[in-house]
Homo-oligomer: 388 residues x 2
């Protein structure tokens, strides 16, 4: 089996950019990825593209051919949709395609426009990631769903709003130097605690923002990288995916996310690593409690122990296990269909040393990305490693 | 490389069934496929699922986990969206997954609900398969788009409404014995000619209907089939995909569909066959002219020569190259996200001899399926063969 290398990465600025079309955003991200990769577009065999709510935000389905055109590609193009894990599954299938030997070069990416819908429209759009018949019609939105998960966690293991405020403060701090981030500003624990409530026990700074943006990657086979003398030190050495019951009411335990556990077990086995080998993680913190749940279901913390990780400084840039050095979805922003690819972009930069936060972790050689859909009915985990 | 076999197939009735939910439809199709396959659900490594407009028709994105649950599966599940070729790409990626050795059993399928939207709502929903900025806002709908393609074809090569009426009449005739078909009734050429216009030169019987329905397949590796002594004589021996410019205005020639040509070339090369080897075809006749365009771009007819194929009887059940023996999208119905999988269901039955129209083609050993998205900005071709 061929190893897969990340030859190039590209991002647009994440933020409120309602005046730009989806194709415009993706064109920018992919242009940057191809410049970074030094790979000619005619070598690309396939484009895998993630988008979630384009039917609502742009009245545009069938986006893959449009995005191939925007990226200057003349190859088969496929859209993946898995709610907020759309680009995660697009990356995963691209990794499988390269590994199988079917293609040497696959372009991957994702895009989401959200702010043009306004806050209410985007919230309603996001709700289609939940079970319409049994959750949404009962009035559930995602802040409410994650509030239920946070309450269940607090009931089962303890913890407090202040623990979550430490997660928010850490991730905002990490984004300060990230020029692509929606919020490049520090937020103190006190400020997070003083924020207005959204859905008890989640407050404003517990929630990722609504964001426009795009991300792109050029993945290549080991052989292609060698034959073309590419500077592509980072490989994707493990991939896993998990799926859970869609509706919260059908789950056994709201403080545990089996889809993440399955995805992590599959990815670690694939990479022949243990959870203990993970040095860096970009996890799906659409809400602060989601970071806590992820760290536990990923096997990086025992159940009930991740809630204090940020407070204790363990997941800080100078901690034992830096988490969301990009700023995370919380501060970097969360254009849902792009997020899974953007996590791989950030991790690649962190590992190869050209991320603004690379200096804090310059010995790190192995990191994971964790992308989730809905209330983690879907999850995708990738293991990235600096290869020789 | 392992060969891929179709172990089981399942379909709901196609038609106007607005009272049934998407999960209900997919549960039925997948139940039938598993019964047909005699494969236990716990052996399934992955579900690939196609759906196009669920965000509009059911206010439901993130359908893959829901459909895994409906199918009784506990495995990673991914949604593919490629307009009317959504299930085609889902099949294609499943074939790649089995071939690569990554999984022995993959479930595939698709579902669409449309009739609950009403005709105007479904037409508007379908329009998101075209370029919203440069086609839909100018007033284009799909009957209009295919009318432009038909007009271009007539200009370039000649042909008439009556030639197209022969396509409609043939496909309706093929559906008479197909219990899953939306319209199990013959339509004479005269009746098709007398129908009201939809978009000149296309009339009512030139257009596929709006349809609800689901389709499912169980694909297995050769090794798995042998080890488990499965009765699965039909293999998927070739797969190809093509992508073209999204908007008609950006194409060089409206009477030629390069995405189909690319997909066919890739699939034929993959199967090590020539176009001349094709004995049966299920092609994407969302409009009668689409069948004509498909036959030419698939290399089964020279440019300008397929327009008279139905009139001459060549593509009839007793012709040299029977096309759309299922009834096609035209008469069997076109639940867009299910269509690509349902074509593989029909072709499998035709080749293994348990289709109502199998008797007409009982020597046939090789057939292709052709699934297209939008105005053929996307196309997927599969080659199916009776294996030893």
């Amino acid at each position: 089996m061929t190893a897969v290398r990340v030859a190039g990465v590209g991002l647009t600025h994440f933020g409120q950019i309602p005046e730009r079309t989806g194709r415009d955003l993706f064109a920018e991200a992919s242009q940057l990825a191809f410049e970074d990769a030094s790979v000619p577009r005619e070598d690309v065999a396939q484009l895998n593209y993630g988008n979630f709510m384009g039917a609502l935000a742009e009245h545009q389905g069938h986006q893959a051919p449009l995005m191939a055109e925007a990226a200057g590609l003349d190859c088969p193009a496929t859209r993946y949709e898995e709610a907020c894990a759309s680009a995660g599954v697009a990356v995963r299938e691209a990794v499988k395609t390269v590994r199988s030997g079917e293609a040497d070069v696959v372009a991957v990416g994702g895009m989401e426009r959200m702010t043009n819908l306004g806050t209410a429209g985007a919230t309603e759009g996001l709700a289609i990631a939940a079970d319409d018949l049994f959750e949404v019609r009962a009035g559930m939105t995602f802040p409410g769903a994650y509030a239920l998960m946070a309450s269940a966690y607090f009931d089962e293991y303890g913890g407090s709003r202040e623990d979550l405020a430490h997660v928010a403060s850490k991730n905002h701090g990490n984004a300060v130097e990230n020029e692509y981030a929606q919020y490049q500003r520090a937020v103190s624990v006190e400020k997070a605690m003083d924020a207005p409530p959204v859905a008890e026990p989640l407050y404003l700074f517990d929630c990722a923002p609504i964001t426009d943006g795009a991300a792109a990657l050029v993945l290549v086979s080991d052989d292609y990288a060698e034959a073309n003398d590419l500077d592509a030190p980072v490989g994707i050495v493990g991939s896993g995916q998990g799926t859970d019951k869609m509706a919260l009411q059908d789950r056994d335990d709201l403080a545990w996310t089996p889809a993440t556990e399955q995805a992590a077990e599959m990815a670690y086995a694939d990479a022949a690593i243990e959870a203990d080998d993970v040095e860096l993680a970009e996890v799906h913190d659409c809400f602060t409690i989601a970071e806590v749940l992820a760290l536990e279901s990923l096997g990086l913390y025992e159940p009930g122990h991740a809630i204090g990780a940020a407070r204790r400084g363990e997941t800080a840039a100078d901690g034992d296990l830096p988490v969301n050095l990009s700023g995370g979805l919380k501060a970097k922003g969360h254009p849902v269909g792009a997020t899974g690819a953007s996590q791989v972009v950030e991790m690649t930069r962190l590992l190869r040393g050209d991320h603004p936060n690379s200096d804090a972790v310059d010995d790190a050689r192995l990191g994971i990305t964790h992308n989730a859909g809905g209330t983690v009915a879907s999850a995708v985990v990738h293991v990235l490693e600096v290869l020789a």
